[in-house]
Amino acid sequence: MATLEELTTEATAEIEAAKPLYKQVNNERLEFSDADYAQAVTDLANSKWNDQQFGYIQARQEAYGSIADQLDMQYWDAVNGTTNWKDHVAQVKSDNPKPA
């Protein structure tokens, strides 16, 4: 698990490689200032940090069945004595682990 400092180093290298970057201010095209480049590094590092620390949340949201499907699983589990719903939830969690 990378630290924010390590991710900042990665981001710095990526922004350096991407130079020159431009902004459009009221349709005037300008190269980034030093402050803009510093901001871009911060933003990219924070984005990497968010992906690393919180990406599992979205991944789980995408992997879970719909509420209707999960309720259907629970009904048939109750009828048949199966564990399909619990297995489904456990599989999603194990496939998309929360960072330590």
Binding site: L21, K23, N26, A40, D43, L44, A45, Q58
Partner: protein, 188 residues
């Protein structure tokens, strides 16, 4: 006093790769300000974000930006889900996030981001600066149409007015799109 009705204050058209788009000129001329983004596409699937400007300078202040949004996914069995994000104390809190990660705005796809955003209280130093938006885009993770309706607030660290708004992605550059700032007058 401004003329009645709707007026275009700034219009920016992306003709080559651009990492950030800033629209300024929000002053006391109009009663309401509004931003429209038409078909914005970028080099990455990272989320679109926005920040205010003060005296033309983009403001990135953690603990000042807060937002929440609700996403609708057209190709999901469930109608969507509420998604709230309180950036206080979290990384990249110094902006409003318009969408979640993996929003597909990449060049070459058939649809970019289309967004409407109302701007409130930009000229009131005693109140939070607020935005409310709705946008539609193609979502990479579900490969379908998604939309978000959201709202954001900015709590100024000290009393001051805002005069513009800046859009960017977490990484990458806009490859095309039109960004327009409007002013509305309530004058009859």
């Amino acid at each position: 006093m401004a003329n009645q009705g709707l007026h275009i204050i700034q219009k920016t058209v992306i003709t080559s790769n651009t990492a950030a788009v800033t629209l300024t000129g929000i002053d006391d001329t109009y009663d309401v300000y509004h931003v429209r983004i038409v078909d914005a596409q970028s080099t990455t699937t990272e989320p679109l974000r926005a920040r205010i400007t003060k005296s033309g300078v983009v403001v990135d202040s953690d603990n000042n930006y807060d937002y929440a949004w609700w996403e609708r996914l057209t190709n999901r069995a469930s109608p969507g889900f509420n998604s709230f994000d309180n950036p206080y104390g979290s990384a990249n809190g110094g902006s409003w996030r318009i969408q979640h990660q993996n929003s597909d705005t990449q060049a070459g796809t058939t649809i970019g981001i289309n967004l409407e955003m109302d701007l409130f209280n930009f000229r009131n130093p005693d109140a939070n600066t607020q935005v409310a938006w709705r946008c539609i885009f193609n979502d990479e993770s579900w490969d379908g149409i998604s939309s978000t309706k959201g709202a954001g607030g900015f709590t100024p660290a000290s009393q001051s007015v805002s005069d513009g708004i800046s859009f960017f992605n977490d990484s990458g550059e806009f490859t095309r799109g039109t960004f327009i700032l409007y002013g509305y007058s309530n004058t009859i």
